[in-house]
Symmetry: C2
Subunit: 188 residues, 2 copies
Amino acid sequence: MGRWEPNARGRLEQAALELYVERGYEQTTVAEIAKRAGLTERTFFRHYADKREVLFGGSDTLRDHLVNAVAAAPDSAAPIDAIAGAVEGVGVLFDERHERARQRQAVIALNAELRERELIKLASLSAALADTLRRRGVPDPAASLAAEAGIAVFKIAFERWISGPGEPGLSQLVRESFDALKAVTAGT
Amino acid sequence: MGRWEPNARGRLEQAALELYVERGYEQTTVAEIAKRAGLTERTFFRHYADKREVLFGGSDTLRDHLVNAVAAAPDSAAPIDAIAGAVEGVGVLFDERHERARQRQAVIALNAELRERELIKLASLSAALADTLRRRGVPDPAASLAAEAGIAVFKIAFERWISGPGEPGLSQLVRESFDALKAVTAGT
């Protein structure tokens, strides 16, 4: 095998998820993941720092999508609408990933350390969104509140999406959850 | 000293916070905390499982106050109003605690493990509030969204409170933050 492995990252992720579901996250080694993917451990470590990061490797992409979308919203957009558009837009990142997302969540739910890591990920997404709103001139507490609301909606819509069959898609569930949040905060 | 130490818990908390601020959380031992409080290590362990739990000893009280207040809200109260009333009501738990809360937050901010523990605390408060709303017949996603919104408001109001002089009080900042959230989600 040459140094360049087409889609090695995706193969490693799929192999890791399969093993975490079959044997448990704690019991799975990097050597086993690499073997299942038909790759070397060395290739594994070119793509992921450790077996935990296989589950969080998409965090930076997710944050970049969210931040860029908020930064690119029209000046006239209300903060909550800039956030809603950004969160809705990340739905496309998860197209074709329903089964992987479902497996990933099942693995995370069984491990306290992974649940903590997931909470940290969501908190850092919220902080990045709030920073982006502040750079657009939105004052606090509005910037922090809109960002927290957006991440709460994302989390709840995501849970609905993975506990269902994948249709309706994540973007639609995000849209519905934002509408539900507006109704809830309006006291209806 | 007899077995019963009046307000040993409060003395241990104050001693621990002083030492965490002076020397750093990692460098402080239970023996040092007990000594500073004028108590024995044995007394420490009657009140706290370890030095970390000194910082999180109020979590159960906080959760019970929130859950009981939501459960006791009038049947006619909209979910967000039941949550807002509960979160506003816990402000009284923090009366006279501004300096301790400020020290605690400064310690937590410097330590990744403590920041994680704080996120877990907030997530478990949100889950408890959502459960309480469901028991009142509020369907999802409204129950989860109202709970997440309430905890987001609490977190943001709390940060405003400890970064200020203590006046206005926490309850008032919670009220203001709920009003800000309503304005934000309404798109204004």
